[in-house]
Symmetry: D3
Subunit: 157 residues, 6 copies
């Protein structure tokens, strides 16, 4: 199987979706940031008190999802119809799990938008915690579920 | 220790660096994407033949590093003086390791630029391989080294 | 009545318009900047002679309307089909009134685009006059009329 | 007095600040949005409970301030060193007052950044309340105080 | 014949395409950069060895085409469905010819996107060769072919 | 002589200017668009009557120069201190000549900014005239003069 993002001469190309039908498509991506105890507690407390890191990160994630076509060279400009970013905290592992779901009625899927939204949200948490923790790590950025389009449903458990 | 990104009333703020000295600062970030056999081989072959995924990803990573202040809400606009993105392939693990180094003579560090550059480069690889592999995972995004500024050298082995 | 921009857990979300029909929608917004005598005359003269502040401001307003989704976190990316910015001068009050109309065939309204276009146009006038007048004020930014979509026609006299 | 933003032939120009000294400069801008009772209460409650409109608006305002040079044609690209957006609520008038302060060590002032930050924050409140109130009005956008640079301190009481 | 980009009062406007039908449209633009011998050889060798200028330029061209509406004031935001940038080398003339094709199913043509893509790709070659050649020239930027829409096929031989 | 934009392994890199001194630098670029009789007259008349194409194009050119680092992958983010775009009309050749000058006190030159400013201004003229002339051509985009920095003055007559 060849790359769909290169033509026969090896030129990188945007995949041609001109003739594809507009269908409802949805993608859910996730990722995780691991923090030290001090930073994790600061983030966790921020969700109930003033100084809400996760609210800033969710806003950044949604705005980041909308910027996907400006960041990823071969991504199409997609007028997405829905985006949501949310978090789950795992105090035992000192991890913040980020989820980003994106929807569209369009000709191509939105997994890159969901992955970009999650990545930007996690980088925003990193930025706001980096005075407290110099060794954070972001990982587990992956597609969890994708529906719509020719390839049908994809689930990564 | 409190967040530097919130004031006493809990308002999110850009950290005030007005009075800080301009010094040479450098940051190196890394991250990894794990691919299936088919996608890994296509990427690996692309580096010697036509269809070079990694060249597109490096370009996207450098452009992404320059967009950091537009993506991460509290990041300063930083006229970075150097940026480089490169890759190492691990065929046994089917992993592409991405490295991004950023430099500046400025008032604040550039780790967010390096982390963003690496993230965008890895997302670009994901995008160009997603027709071949629906289960890729991006991880290990972290700061490896940082020099310059008040906090001195930071090394995460 | 609850916010449409938050889900039940309080996460800020882009409103889901995936299932809405594409209909013709139009919005007209307006706003005003009040200038001192010197600045007002310079702007007024500029519309007939060289040095046309209002031409620059109209261009900035149209470009600003197109940037709405990049500025307002929960706004959808909307491929607007028409945008126009124009001005009326009130010499007695030394005010420049700005009007911005935006149209689309789409799933959601374009009032934010019209309001953003008017705001950016007025800020541009401010910028170009600020050497002459240090006490300008921008106000009266509001939706004047909106048609199309489920909520039908809205008129603010 | 002539426009500084036009040359002698009437061409719009960015003002030449090449030879100006780098000095510390600061600007504080403000503006107001007037809401109906339902929307005002929803915003006011959101500041203590889930669904925090003002946190989203502050984030958007800071990001908007950083985009000033991309919005206002003749504005310089300014690597601002500090930005903060905050709000005061006036329940009697059902008004939200927005304040935006910006700082830089640079060759030109940052009042446009402060005014743009306040404008974008207020437009964000508008966007998130527009399902509840179709007749909001944004006004009173003005410079309150400016220090640094050749023109010294400016105060608009 | 009058400008379609101005209304009867002389205000610059985005052309209203609200009522136009969505049809498949395509545009091909081209342009050329002339280099000195040293720079031309470096570019030509780069396409088979390491240091591939043309790969970076093609990536930049595709990303540039997507930014058209942010660059050209009266251009519509167009969710283009395909973009490809490629090059032909003329060693005798020491010229690199650039081609950019863009497609959409939409209400208006994409020639500006194709022309912008070609221009940005050529400027990228200029940037990467400017240490070797201080006298490069970019020219011949024009529409070669355009199909779809009311004006039918246009061919510039 | 090797590319400065690639390292020894062939990775595209932003040239490292961290250690370079801040000096005053200036660049002047030019370019030309050739129009048919109808379009040329419309543009020429627009400069004295309503409907001023060249005012819109100059605004777009200045804004385009500020976007250079976002368009050209290896260009540095440069807080330029001056930009001006202007035009000369040649009725005999039916040509509009565009000039763009950019200045900075910085570590690297601004020729790419001047060339990008001229290119965007000319593309804007193309856009606004394309209903009248389907065969326009943009050419002659080149650096006319450059001062400051290590390479001293460069003049292309």
């Amino acid at each position: 199987m060849a790359f769909t993002h290169f033509d026969q001469e090896g030129n990188a190309v945007m995949v041609d979706v001109t003739e594809k039908a507009d269908t409802v498509r949805e993608a859910l991506a996730s990722g995780t940031i691991k923090l030290n105890q001090e930073a994790f507690e600061a983030v966790a407390n921020g969700t109930t008190k003033k100084g809400d890191v996760l609210s800033v990160a969710a806003t950044a994630g949604i705005m980041g999802a909308k910027k996907t076509a400006g960041l990823i060279p071969m991504c199409h400009i997609l007028p997405i119809t829905n985006c949501k970013v949310w978090f789950e905290l795992d105090p035992k592992q000192r991890e913040v799990h980020c989820f980003c779901t994106v929807k569209i009625t369009g000709k191509t899927g939105v997994e890159m938008e969901a992955l970009t939204g999650a990545s930007v949200a996690l980088l925003t948490i990193y930025d706001m915690c980096k005075a407290m923790d110099k060794s954070m790590e972001i990982g587990g950025i992956r597609l969890k579920r994708k529906t719509g389009g020719r390839s049908g449903e994809i689930v990564n458990p």
